[in-house]
């Protein structure tokens, strides 16, 4: 069993998450795709720690999880705030920077 297979899965998940960020319009779904990308990175961290034989990768994955948690908290609060003022959860609504 080649440990690198996990890396390929991780790459695929990351790519799917990236596409999702670009394609979906619902802000919460976009957020979820970002979470997916973070999780994919975590998977590759853990896999590399197994390949290298030390626990550094796992420690990094741990930190990533903590940071992702914080990010979810603040990001969702922002989405709620925007939803309250604009009554819509679409990311296309906030387009005031257009040319």
């Amino acid at each position: 069993m080649n440990a690198a297979n996990y890396l390929y899965i991780s790459a695929l998940l990351f790519t799917i998450g990236a596409v999702g960020v670009v394609v979906r319009r619902n802000a919460i779904v976009v957020f979820m795709c970002i979470e997916l990308m973070l999780n994919a990175a975590n998977l590759s961290f853990v896999t590399f720690s197994r390949i290298n034989g030390n626990l550094h990768g796992q420690v990094f994955a741990f930190f990533t999880m903590v940071v992702a948690a914080c990010e979810v908290v603040v990001g969702l609060a922002i989405i709620v705030t925007i939803y309250r003022s604009r009554r819509s959860a679409s990311v296309d609504v906030a387009s005031l920077l257009k040319r």
């Binding site: 670009v22 394609v23 387009s95 005031l96 257009k98 040319r99």
Partner: protein
């Protein structure tokens, strides 16, 4: 080395006068001209004192120097501003201040109707100061300052009546052609500094024997170019005729006696360079000989009395330049001719001014005639000058011109014969056209309306200077030549030990030939003009030679075709290039920025998702780049 503190006053007095008159403005209109006349007279007195002091010293100790201040001290280049008064400079100082003072006196009356008389005198004083600086400077750089100064003064004075556009243009033309000569002087100074490390006369004289012939020839040619520009020699002679637009005293002082002789001074002062560079000296001779004939040919066809005298000046300076190219003894004879020419040419110009004054500023000789009855003093002084320029013994020109012709023949070989013959021919043509001037102006029936003009003698302020100059025309040649006085006086400067070199023709032969040419010229002029049928308007059906001579031997046309029109074309091309290419490039850059900006603006959609897509593409590109670089 004798030093003196009085030398600076020679220059300071007229300079002070010029400054006072320019700054005082209208307040000085009542007394300005008197002050301005007194100051050069004061310089003349100082000059005389110095001369007397010099005469009392031995020949080796005759030079007087005065250091003014340390001027330039940059690295190896050290120049002190100083003055040098030696046997050569004293001749010029006395000529400038003496003739200058006389012309100032003349101008008091000549310019009495002009409201700008004060400004005129200020410029005249400025000219005197600059010319004195030119001849008193002890280095090429000090000479250059004076050189530029006289150029400026000449411009200001030629264009004095600049209300008339043609006069202003004439002033500009003179300045521009002078400038070409000035470039030659600058380059000569640069070469001198580069090869010899010094530009003072003493320093260059010391260093000349060690320098290469090529460097000395280069310096010599550049100095010759400077002299050509300032002294109106071929090929830069076209400005002298137009310079007659200035008031007559200006023509007398600047364009007859002094400024145009600055070139001769320069070459004489640089004798150590020319003696060591035979090629340059040969060029000097050629230029002199060509100009000699050039001026004479132009003079034959001019109907304007001042322009005829200007052409004559051009020709006589050609003689002087020719003389300076003939070796150590030639310098002395050139200076002698310069001094005598100063007298008789200035006298003739003042006489012409007097005639114009009497004929209400008419300059066309075809409208003169029979004026000797009405202006006897003018006729007498002019006549004495005429005889002097012809070279009739015992008048001044005889001694100086004949010496030059002799030395020309003695130059040896084919060269000697050619230039001697040219000089003789020039003498004959000079006789012709000067006689023509005399006949047309003073003899014959009046060709003017008796009711319109009332020719009369001018005031004493005008005819007295003319008379004094006439005395000079008569006696100066004899005095300078007696016992080789001038030659011996100047000998220590030129390392001339005296004695004659090989003589091709005995002096008496040369004199006879010269007088024969003169007589021929007079005779032809007599036959053509004295029989009374002179047209009031210049005839149109003349030979092609006359037509060419009337057009200044096509020099102006040549200058226009070869320099002016291509120059204007070049200017127009450069302008167009600047507009189209350079400005176009700048505007093109701007347009590029604007264009690319409006293109890139389309990426600012305002949608977060398109920005996210761009980030994705960016990440892709970055990783691909890293892959390409590291693997």
């Amino acid at each position: 080395m004798v030093t003196s503190n009085a030398l600076v006053y020679l220059i300071a007095l007229p300079l002070f006068g010029s400054v006072v008159l320019l700054l005082a403005g209208r307040r000085a209109d009542k007394w300005g001209h008197l002050l301005a006349t007194a100051l050069p007279a004061g310089s003349f007195v100082i000059g005389l004192t110095e001369l007397l002091a010099m005469l009392g010293r031995s020949p080796q100790e005759r030079s007087v120097t005065q250091k003014l201040f340390e001027w330039i001290s940059v690295g190896n280049f050290k120049i002190d501003a100083g003055l040098l008064l030696d046997q050569l400079s004293i001749c010029f100082v006395l000529l400038i201040t003496g003739v200058g003072t006389l012309i100032h006196i003349y101008s008091i009356s000549y310019m009495s109707h002009d409201p700008d008389r004060r400004r005129f005198f200020a410029f005249l004083n400025l000219f005197i100061a600059a010319m004195l600086l030119l001849v008193l400077g002890d280095s090429y750089l000090s000479l250059y300052v004076g050189w530029e100064g006289v150029g400026l003064a000449s411009y200001l004075l030629i264009g004095f009546w600049n209300q008339k556009p043609t006069y202003a243009t004439a002033a500009k033309k003179a300045f521009v052609m002078n400038r070409i000569g000035d470039m030659g002087l600058s380059i000569a100074i640069m070469i001198a500094f580069a090869t010899l490390g010094t530009v003072s006369f003493a320093g260059v004289k010391e260093g000349a024997p060690q320098a290469s012939t090529a460097a000395l020839t280069a310096i010599g040619i550049m100095l010759l170019i400077a002299a050509i520009g300032k002294s109106a020699q071929f090929p830069l002679q076209a400005w002298l005729g137009d310079a007659m637009a200035g008031p007559t005293p200006v023509s007398a002082l600047i364009h007859a006696a002094t400024m145009v002789t600055a070139g001769v001074y320069l070459i004489t002062r640089s004798n150590f360079i020319f003696d060591a560079a035979p090629t340059a000296q040969l060029l000097v001779v050629i230029v002199g000989a060509i100009t000699l004939l050039f001026g004479a040919l132009i003079g034959m066809a001019k109907d304007d009395i001042k322009k005829a005298l200007a052409a004559s000046t051009m020709s006589q300076i050609g003689y002087m330049i020719l003389g300076t190219g003939l070796g150590p003894v030639g310098y002395a004879f050139a200076i002698m001719h310069l001094l005598t020419h100063g007298f008789f040419k200035a006298g003739m110009f003042l006489g012409a001014g007097s005639v114009m004054h009497g004929m209400d500023d008419e300059v066309n000789m075809r409208r003169y005639g029979g004026l000797r009855k009405f202006m006897p003093i003018t006729f007498a002084t002019f006549g004495l000058g005429y005889l002097a320029i012809l070279g009739v013994p015992p008048f001044a020109g005889f001694y100086s011109k004949d010496h030059i012709i002799e030395t020309a023949f003695n130059a040896g070989g084919i060269k000697g014969i050619i230039i001697g013959s040219v000089a003789l021919l020039g003498a004959g043509i000079t006789a012709f056209y000067m006689t023509r001037v005399m006949i047309l102006t003073f003899t014959g029936a009046p060709r003017w309306d008796e009711k319109a003009h009332h020719p009369h003698e001018p005031s004493i302020l005008m005819w007295l200077p003319m008379a004094i100059l006439a005395i000079g025309s008569v006696s100066s040649g004899f005095l300078l030549s007696k016992g080789d006085a001038l030659v011996n006086w100047l000998a220590p400067l030129f390392e001339y030990e005296g004695g004659h070199e090989v003589e091709l023709l005995k002096p008496i032969v040369v004199t006879t030939l010269a007088l024969a040419m003169v007589a021929t010229g007079i005779a032809i002029a007599f036959i053509k003009y004295a029989r009374g049928n002179v047209a009031q308007v210049a005839p149109v059906n003349v030979s092609v030679f006359t037509k060419i001579a009337r057009r200044d031997l096509l020099q102006d046309d040549f200058n226009e075709a070869v320099f002016m029109r291509p120059g204007q074309g070049l200017t127009a091309t450069l302008l167009k290039t600047d507009e189209v290419i350079i400005d176009g490039a700048v505007r093109g850059v701007a347009r590029l920025a604007v264009g690319s900006g409006s293109l890139l603006r389309r990426t600012q959609t305002g949608f977060v998702r398109s920005y996210a897509a761009l980030i994705l593409i960016g990440a892709l590109a970055l990783i691909a780049a890293i892959w390409v670089v590291t693997f």
